[in-house]
């Protein structure tokens, strides 16, 4: 035992010695259990508090059957509906007495259950979490009630035009990919959720299995005792066998466009999107597209300075190339102050993307951006919860924090030529989808 601990320390020291080059430099312990469960423990310098993030590699991407959009998210709600040993009242009482902040979220590729609490409560929290991941049990009546809370969630989101814009963008851009629907799902599927009790059991059996799950423990902890606790509570969890056949997206053959009429007054929104490759920490094109989102559209970019600061025709402008398991969308978003400028702004965005194909970006801009990315990552990790939350995003993609270091290392190597090559390959007409959202004529049009 003593030897094992020494060995572990040596391993941690080795990691720490390499640290200066790594953007995620905290020493961590990554451990695989025989049933396929993975545990990542990150001791941090922040006292007293521990963040526990349980990442399930299942999200709306896994919703392959028709009529089941939104189910991964719905299921996340059901996970709070108790077990034999811990019915909801008891589960809530344990959390209340411990002053736990807990919640969960679902996205395209992941479902995350998270808790932040005082360090002395770690054993109890692992016990109640292990229990619900293995022994979840709820009645059909409870299931049907929870479906209504999901509808309530849809309702509270529905006042936002952005939510609608993304719904239409995805539906327009994709044919077969499950990214065609949002994590929330289509309204008609949400309204049918109360009738899907049997399917919910099936969903649990498929995905709530150790091989889909990574546990992250970050905070005032030491790896060895955490391993022992996780072994104790999750060790008997049975491995599953299900693999979803997630359809690939056929190549797009023509540009696409859609318009959304918004029933009440709003400023018009514009989304300009291009199909982009899946997440990778080794593919220079992916890294280059990540950088283009900043080079072309961050507040320091020429276009932002022109449209937002100088001409003041746009009040919001940003772009992103989100990390996704499957090919997704590079998207530029703009909110335009006057509806008559929508076409002009669209032209400017397309013009910016086109110019990246021919004109190499100045080297000093690229260097400033590389610095920005490193500092921005470092500034984000200012508490244990933020560390665990950041790891969760990456763990959902590759199951290891090391991908962060590989990705940021790759950023440092990207050249102006890489940027040009990626722009030429991806910003082509046949990969494009444009969606505009504006007030319906009866709603009174845009303002200001």
């Amino acid at each position: 035992m003593r030897l094992a601990i020494l060995g572990l320390c040596a391993a941690l020291l080795a990691t720490a010695a390499d640290a200066p080059r790594k953007v995620f430099s905290l020493a961590y312990d990554q451990h695989d259990f025989p049933n396929g469960l993975r545990l990542i423990t990150v001791p941090t310098e922040f006292p007293n508090v521990v963040a526990l993030y349980i990442v399930v590699q299942t999200g709306s991407r896994n919703e392959v059957e028709p009529g089941k959009s939104g189910f991964a998210h719905f299921f996340e709600h059901m996970m709070f509906r108790g077990t034999k040993n811990y019915p909801p009242e008891k589960y809530e009482a344990v959390k209340a007495n411990a002053g736990v902040a807990s919640n969960a979220y679902t996205s395209d590729d992941l479902t995350v259950y998270h808790m932040t609490f005082s360090k002395e409560d770690l054993p109890k929290m692992l016990e109640i979490e292990a229990d619900r991941f293995q022994n979840l049990e709820y009645s059909e009546a409870v299931f049907r009630t929870e479906a209504l809370a999901v509808l309530g969630e849809y309702n509270k989101n529905s006042a936002s035009p952005n939510v609608k814009l993304f719904e239409v963008l995805r539906e327009t851009a994709f044919d077969k990919s499950t990214y065609k629907h949002t994590t929330m799902g289509f309204l008609k599927d949400i309204q049918d959720m109360p009738n899907q009790f049997q399917y919910s059991r099936e969903f649990f059996n498929r995905y709530y299995r150790p091989e889909y799950v990574t546990i992250i423990v970050a905070g005032d902890v030491k790896p060895e005792p955490v391993r022992a606790l996780v072994a104790k509570y999750f060790g008997n969890w049975k491995r599953g066998s299900y693999r979803a056949a997630i359809p690939g997206e056929p190549p797009q053959t023509a540009p696409r466009e859609a318009k959304v009429d918004w029933p009440s007054p709003t400023l018009p929104w514009l989304a300009v999107a291009f199909k982009s490759p899946a997440y990778s920490d080794a593919n220079r094109e992916v890294a280059a597209l990540d950088l283009i989102a900043y080079l072309g559209f961050a507040p320091t970019s020429d276009l932002y300075q022109k449209l937002v600061i100088k001409e003041q025709k746009v009040d919001l402008l940003y772009a992103s190339n989100p990390d996704r398991v499957d090919p997704y969308l590079f998207t530029v978003m703009a909110r335009i102050k006057n509806p008559k400028d929508v076409d002009y702004v669209k032209g400017e965005i397309l013009g910016t993307l086109a110019s990246l194909k021919d004109n190499p970006v100045p080297a000093e801009r690229l260097e400033a951006l590389k610095k920005h990315l490193r500092y921005s990552f470092a500034l984000r990790l200012d508490n244990s919860e933020a560390i665990a939350a950041t790891l969760a995003r990456f763990v959902a993609l590759t199951r290891t924090p090391e991908t962060i270091n590989r990705k940021y290392e790759l950023y440092t190597k990207i050249t102006p030529e890489d940027i040009r090559a990626a722009a030429r390959k991806y910003f082509v007409d046949n990969a494009r989808t444009i969606v505009t959202l504006a007030s319906a004529p009866a709603a009174g049009g845009g303002q200001q």
Binding site: A96, N97, A101, G152, H372, D382
Partner: protein, 489 residues
């Protein structure tokens, strides 16, 4: 109340000198929080928005020597920024930098606050931003925040808290550069300033900062004198008519309790029991969402908590002399809207009459005592809370609460509930489509029976029989329907 005010004066700064709240540490990150004791409540008559627009000009505009573009370019490689937050009595400028960039960041931060650029093109852009925030983001795209903000406006009508922190559209439109300069001269003084710094800065750095900010005019210490909010004699209802698929509710009334008041810890425990923000432990959440599936969540507050739909913990530096008790019912389906309001009132009534059981008290007290760790989990939050504690004249938040909670009894909590909370004489804000129809339902007091998509336990069904007939007791003359376009104008 009087006592608390005296304590504050005792803790206040010497004449014309900034207060300093410093939390030095070993972190490679340095946090800045510079707080001015001024805010939207200081907006001159007819010039609502002066505080917000002045603060915007400093945080998001150029300085005398640099254009905004030059500032953005300089901050970008550091991944740093200057954020601002304007509340009724506080304006905060905050930011964080890696220690590598401390000097370069501070140079920009200092210049932004001490030597603003006052450029016309910045003014135009930032005025548009604030107007669009009111008209589009708040009024158009977020029914929940809209309801909450209208609640504050309505409770504080005719009071210096009576308009949005961003101002009003007409106020913003009327503001000139001279108005902003005047606001800056009057309120950006040493006496109004609290310098907050945390992290691994060298000791000499703090001295330099203090010296630099002597450039501000001295100013007079003291705090805004506020009138009492208008007394509520009956429940008043504001219904905001807009095209939306669901119905959002917010309601409440002023309370005299704030940090430092003897009943604050007791009411905090009570609030946590009734509706801890965005956690499933609260009673309202359990009865409305968990048992009945009426909506996504239901919470209670004793302090201002903006942007709650986007965050789990409140932002610090929203300290106020006057607070309200508030319940937030997240959007419900129109068909169950009448019932949902009745149920919320039913629960509030039970809460006020019965208070907490011994078990519920222990649970809620345990929750609050430990949850405070989580509120302070970042150095930035710790700094913000330390500034607020200074402002309220209480010890650091953790010790303040821990000390008070350890001595707290169930009887004290229940007595505090009875003293400060009630079910009548409130302001109720409703954001909905077809307000007239809903108003008639309210006034008719007709039963609003629930139907469920699944069998319900006996206790829920029995309770429903009472709730569906619960009298809201609203009067037609106290209900106003306002088209959304008229709000914040």
């Amino acid at each position: 109340m009087k006592l608390a005010a005296m304590m504050l004066l005792a803790g206040a700064a010497a004449w014309g000198k900034p207060e300093v709240v410093a939390l030095p540490g070993k972190s490679p990150i340095v946090n800045f929080r510079f707080v001015l004791r001024a805010g939207a409540a200081s907006d001159p008559a007819g010039k609502q928005g002066a505080a917000a627009l002045t603060a915007s000009m400093l945080a998001q505009g150029g300085t005398r020597t640099k254009t905004y573009k030059e500032i953005v370019d300089a901050l970008f490689p550091m991944a740093a920024s200057i954020s601002m937050q304007v509340d009724k009595e506080m304006i905060v400028f905050s930011g964080a930098t890696h220690i590598d960039n401390l000097e370069s960041y501070y140079q920009i931060f200092r210049e932004a606050l001490l030597d603003p650029g006052w450029r016309e093109d910045d003014l135009k852009r930032l005025r548009d931003n604030l107007i669009n925030y009111l008209r589009v983001s708040l009024r158009g795209n977020n029914d929940e925040e809209l309801g909450k903000e209208v609640l504050y406006n309505e409770i504080y009508r005719g009071h210096p808290y009576g308009w949005n922190n961003a101002g009003t559209v007409s106020g913003l439109q009327s503001l000139t550069m001279d108005d902003l300069k005047k606001f800056y001269r009057e309120h950006f003084t040493q006496a109004n300033l609290i310098i907050g710094l945390a992290g691994g800065y060298p000791p000499a750095f703090l001295e330099k900062v203090k010296k630099d900010f002597e450039a501000l005019p001295a100013g007079a210490p003291g705090r805004m004198k506020l009138p009492a909010p208008e007394a509520l004699h009956e429940t008043r209802v504001v219904m905001v008519e807009k095209k939306t698929r669901s119905v959002a509710y917010s309601f409440g009334y002023p309370i005299e309790v704030r940090r430092g008041h003897p009943d604050f810890p007791a009411l905090l425990v009570a609030q946590s029991y009734l509706g801890q923000h965005r956690q499933s432990v609260g009673r309202l959440y359990q009865r409305m969402r968990e048992a009945r599936g009426l909506n996504y969540g239901d919470y209670a507050y004793i302090e201002y908590f903006p942007r709650g739909m986007f965050q789990f913990e409140p932002d610090p530096n929203l300290a106020r002399q006057q607070q309200i008790f508030q319940i937030w019912i997240r959007p419900v389906e129109p068909a169950t809207a009448h019932f949902a309001l009745r149920l919320a009132m039913f629960e509030l009534d039970r809460f006020v009459r019965e208070g907490l059981s011994e078990e519920a008290f222990q649970k809620a007290r345990n929750f609050v005592s430990r949850y405070v760790n989580l509120l302070l989990k970042t150095k930035d939050a710790e700094l913000g809370y330390a500034i607020d504690s200074r402002w309220y004249g209480v010890p650091d938040y953790q010790s303040y609460l821990r000390g008070a909670l350890a001595k707290l009894t169930r009887e004290q909590v229940n007595a505090a509930i009875r003293r400060h909370l009630r079910t009548d004489r409130m302001v109720l804000v409703v954001v909905a489509q077809n307000c007239e129809e809903l108003k008639q339902k309210f006034l008719s007091e007709a039963p609003s029976p629930m139907t469920y998509n699944s069998p319900k336990p006996e206790d829920v069904l029995n309770e429903d029989k009472i709730v569906e007939k619960l009298k809201l007791g609203l009067k037609a003359e106290n209900i106003r329907i306002i088209p959304v376009e008229k709000i914040f104008e």
